[in-house]
Amino acid sequence: MSKAITREYTPGFYEGDRPKIVTSRFEYEDSHTIERFEATGGYEGLKAALAMGPEAMAGEVKASTLLGRGGAGFPAGVKWGFTPQGVWPRYLVVNGDESEPGTYKDRLLMERDPHQLIEGCLIASYAAGLSQCFLYVRGEMPLAHERIAKALDDAYAAGYVGKNILGSDFSLDIVLHWGAGAYVVGEETALIESLEGERGMPRLKPPYFPAAVGLYGQPTIVNNVETLANLPFIAANGSAAFTSIGTETSPGTRMVAISGHVKRPGVYEIVNGSTSFRDIIYGDEFCQGIRDGNELKAFVPGGGSAPWFLPDQLDIQFESKQAGAAGSMLGSGAVMVMDDTTDIPEMALTLVRFYAHESCGKCVPCREGGTWLLRILERVCSGHGTDADLDQLLEVGQSICPGEMPHASSERLGLEAVPFPYKMTTICFVGPSAYASIHSPLTLFRDEFEAKVVPAPKRVSIPVAAG
């Protein structure tokens, strides 16, 4: 079979001998086929799981400290343990709704290695006693739909999915479900609403975890595509092999998409916890520096929702505690890089527009606040704003996230970092994300916003006529 490595078909694969847990097959052009999958250790993890039994398998996942890759970074094994005892049936809902600005990894995993994801779903369902799996894939990803549909058909035919898998008493249906275009549906309770055929609005909390009350009110595990894609490795090689990669608090690898003004943008599988932003942006194996010999101005470290970083933060490792202490978060594994030619307010506007547009409208601070942030910022960017508008932006934001907002430190501005997280008045993170994506640029680059506005007209006092 062919093994031509070209930029065109494998944006996730690069030379170098870094450990590859989830992208190990990306070097093959036919990585999505069952033939390639079986020839390269595919479904060995499933067999290992069936041999060790559900309890031992769940134990391995717990021991691996596999952290969720969907944004919140919650340990998968612990989450599975939140399912209440003796309540049946339990479901698995796979979150393949990837749409956070800057994020491009789950789609790649679904298109390039659908069987690995299917195997992950099987292992999770076996270990946590889940009796049906719904694979919710973002609507705007037809190639992923086609590849997963074909992979599922082949896996059913080969006896990996369906009744009595590989002759065991383990049975599972995996149902491919297409979304229809709504960012907020990626929030896990909205995902469940959407899967029930409703408008995709997040549910009020508590209950905090769908693991307790989820799809049709039943215990439901929601996991990200990348999280599940790690399970075949853990099942086949054991948790020790997994924890030997990365650091104690962040074991394994992570898929990171680096986009924007770098020489070689791409999706890279990096070693968790011990790769710095400097490595990622400037490293030879990764992005090889800023385009055209320009200077780095700022970067967004964890998807559009994350407060921005400056060159001051380059030496922070890709590790959630460090990123949090420095005033941001790693979120969905997406780094957006801006060089010194960037118009900062314009870029902030693209993000604010995104979150304002994607508000589901369930809570007032997000629905109204997001809209106002957008209107004011549009006014500023089109040259019709005043300096009072800049303060107004912060004031509107305060109704979404009261109190101090996290932001990075800056030597240039003499600013100390304010660590993550923030307080919020909304049900989900869409509202706060609208604010975060204007708060940190405005805090770190206020001069650029000021250059776009005129002074607000002074208040006029009109005296009453004497007499």
Partner: protein
Amino acid sequence: MSRLTDANLAIARDIIARYPRKKSALIPLLHLTQEQNGYVTDDAMRHLAELLDITPAEVIGTATFYEMFKFEEVGTYVINICQTMSCALLGAGALMHHAEEKLGIKAGSTTADGMFTIEAAECQAACTEAPTMQVNYRHQYRVTTEDFDQMIDDLRSGALSGDIPPHGTLGRNRQNIPADKFVGAPDPDDVTEGPAWIPVKVDNS
């Protein structure tokens, strides 16, 4: 006229059977009807309501939440040009401007011949390949203005009709669960026992 055809009705029944509760099939069936008619018609929504034992109001209530469902005719080719940050950093604004000039229409509208609709879109999960656009949701990477013009010419001449189906068709193959392998999707209210492979209650904690 725009109710599901017999062939699509058979597909719809298959899809409905995969879910423990019928209404879960609503979004997949909306896609199916959009694939048949190019957009979601009133008659189609009434038909889906019948199939799922819900009211037409519930159908439209759900359908209108989702951006991909169209309630009036759109172009044969819907061109979504990403305007979010990674693409904006690499010229998405100029690409949109060019597209509007080339087709002579503003974003959000359709050419008079019904061939093309342009939309300003949001992050398409292809950020490292910016600027990106989708034609009937098929990704196009690192799109230059020349690429755009070529694309329009090819679509007009039919050179790409094998690669890019008309609006409404998402995946060109659907999942097909063989009856003898299908475990089944009982309503959760009818389930009293744990799965067979969990012998006693398993302690995951």
